[in-house]
Symmetry: C3
Subunit: 314 residues, 3 copies
């Protein structure tokens, strides 16, 4: 593994999953791996789970971590090559990233989409510049289009709880009051469409189709009820439209996941990456019910990060 940006970087996902289980069983057993290592974490927008689980993962491996809130803690960055920097930007990303690479052994970076300009967002311009200028391995802590540490944690969660050889996993769109990025669902598709023991189904209102580059031909079912039938796992998540980019096309409350919806499934476990708008995306009864895996899923964020750090540092 050279960087960790998407499913493609995972290599043999079965081996990575096996490593994750070993780390979860023995979280402090790999402290030699991180000795004398520093993990740099740069956030271009706020974070709770990613920030704290990454710091914890570094500690568990015997490494140190620093966190930089770009903007608040440092300078405003210039992104354009060849720019004459006589405006408000104070440092070129080329210099900032090369310099940060001097102060750490692995660089984790969270960027974000504008939700205004699809082409710009989906070109992953900022992340690609970081990859270009970094001289150490880079981990995406969520980018404009993907969130691989979340998807890997989701996969760990399914793999460690499943009670059948094959399982049906449904990703369902859920209503929200604000337009959200497509990173989490894109990434979920990027990973879950590739797992051979998973029957993967995506359900959402028409107009919410995700980028086919990530759904990779997975079954899309516009009838939520039909999608949920027989499901073993349901991951709920809102996203704004990819086609009508960044727009909210509907807030139809019928899509809010309730016990009635869960009743269509085969006693499915419930998942959500959090934060969740309670009683808008999903009802309290589902989130707090016995089948809810949301806290375990969040806890596995430490394991996914620790596993990726282990691969990059070993």
């Amino acid at each position: 593994m050279k960087n960790f940006i998407s499913f493609a970087d995972a290599g043999d996902y079965r081996a990575l999953l096996q490593q994750a289980f070993e780390i979860k069983a023995n979280p402090y057993g790999y402290k030699h791996i991180g000795q004398n290592k520093t993990i740099g974490l740069i956030f271009f927008n706020p974070s709770l789970r990613t920030r704290l689980s990454s710091v914890k993962a570094a500690y568990n491996l015997g490494a140190q971590a620093w966190v930089l809130n770009a903007g608040a803690d440092s300078w405003t960055l210039e992104m354009a090559d060849g720019a004459v920097m006589n405006g408000s930007t104070q440092e070129h990303i080329k210099d900032a990233i090369a310099v940060m690479s001097e102060y750490c052994d692995v660089l984790g970076v969270r960027t974000f989409p504008t939700l205004q300009d699809r082409e710009a967002d989906y070109s992953e311009d900022v992340l690609n510049k970081i990859l270009q200028y970094a001289t150490v391995p880079v981990i995406s802590l969520e980018s404009a289009t993907l969130h691989p540490l979340q998807s890997f944690a989701d996969l760990i969660t399914v793999a460690e709880t499943k009670q059948k050889e094959r399982v049906k996993v449904v990703l369902t769109w859920a209503p929200h009051v604000r337009p959200l990025p497509q990173c989490v669902p894109n990434s979920f598709c990027d990973w879950f469409s590739e797992i051979d023991w998973i029957d993967f189904v995506i359900t959402h209102p028409e107009g919410y189709e995700l980028d086919p580059r990530f759904t990779k031909g997975a079954r899309i079912e516009y009838d939520q009820r039909r999608a949920l039938e027989g499901a073993d796992y349901v991951q709920a998540k809102n996203w704004s439209s990819y086609q009508d980019y960044g727009q909210i096309l509907t807030q139809d409350a019928d899509w809010m996941l309730t016990p009635m919806h869960m009743a269509y499934t085969d006693k499915a476990k419930f998942m959500h990456c959090l934060p969740v708008r309670r009683n808008v995306e999903v009802s309290d009864a589902v989130l707090d019910g016995p089948g809810s895996l949301i806290i375990q899923e969040a806890g596995n964020r430490t394991i996914s990060m620790q596993t990726v750090l282990h691969e990059l540092l070993k």
Copy 2:
């Protein structure tokens, strides 16, 4: 000790004090206790002493600490049970605290009072929700009504400097330009009224009576001079009115502690939890005088936190 919220959690205070002295004598002698442990510190408002002393205490015990400035670093939190979260709050405290519990072994939390709604503040709604949802031990880093780590540090300071079997300790109200919480004086009363070798007296202008739940029948003396007579220790602190909730009833400069006031005492040591408004609450001559313990008292914040962490992790 399961959590550390008030004096009641201290258990046998003599044993806790003894442990504090041992830790102060040998601050790096307990590093096995914190090995592989992570201490999470969440601040809902700014902090200097609590933040830095807590981080240092964690290090001294061989543990790692992370600090989260709620709001700035993460999301805005919903507090109401059953809320339909279609407004500005982004994550329910129920989920945030359960998730943070996944990323640490002990959770320290600083909340704060509104000073607008006494019933709400004194119900400790936020802290109680945190206690309800946390799955790891919780330490109050100051709440709406109490500041136990400060009071324990104050007790350590008195215990390690006293030169008599019994000592008289006076808590005196002091003027200020802004309305301040009652946490520090409430907590001082909560602790000092329970110590059998302390004669404890509270002095303040009429109308500044604290919640009797915390003063527990301690002697209240409205005449500051009479209160100070024969005192061995004077702790000065401003607070806003509990009865006329959150109001400033007087700024009477006669209550500002000066050498003239200290002359009424039995060469008392002077204490203040800091920050202090110099020459408003207390004059420079007292703060910088030979009897001032304010820096030693602040230094003992590391010891009080380290002792509490030791109890929770051992």
Copy 3:
């Protein structure tokens, strides 16, 4: 070494440089030095290099570091002795610094100039108060007039790359769109004018003369081309006027360093402390050319800090 504020604190610079080379060759070989030590880092304005390199330097020595963004993370500070604090300041610097000294073994502090009042800035009022009240060694992380960790890193960079016994080093002023402090050029002069194997020349437009206290009689050449002739190292940096304090006297683009300018030199290596306004101060072709040392120079910030910490903690 008691504190690290200017070249004078370096003592025998040859010995310090030798120590730096040993640390660079064996960065994790001095972990016993920092054991059980805490490094406090206080920033009164934003930082990238200083913040991250200082944290990394502490880790490399086996020490722990905490970072405090003054203002954002804590209180507003009163600077005036004897002030009646009935205004907006919440804590006196006297108390804040004495207290912070309780929570760390070395204190690093970044202050900054107003660029409005030369006398106030050059009196280093804030830094001197910190030195007065701190009870642990103090490291300047850049002050109103100097930036010694940067200059020491610059010296390490020249010393480890030079291929002659004696080298000519030129500090050249460069254009900028905003008025910048004189700290970096002052400090560069403070150090480089004292090195016996360096021929040191300063070049800038008339009116940009630096404080003679720091240039110490070094050769000043107003003709940039003549200054650059035969140079082995060129350090470019903008600064605002010291004489016409804080003013921008010219933005003459002829002073922007380009390959044409570098052609006057003896194939000089190029240096800049960063952040740099690309194509305003220096052209991309110079910054990204084969003779550019800017990233190595930034990397040496870890070494300069680690060497200074080693001196103070050993």
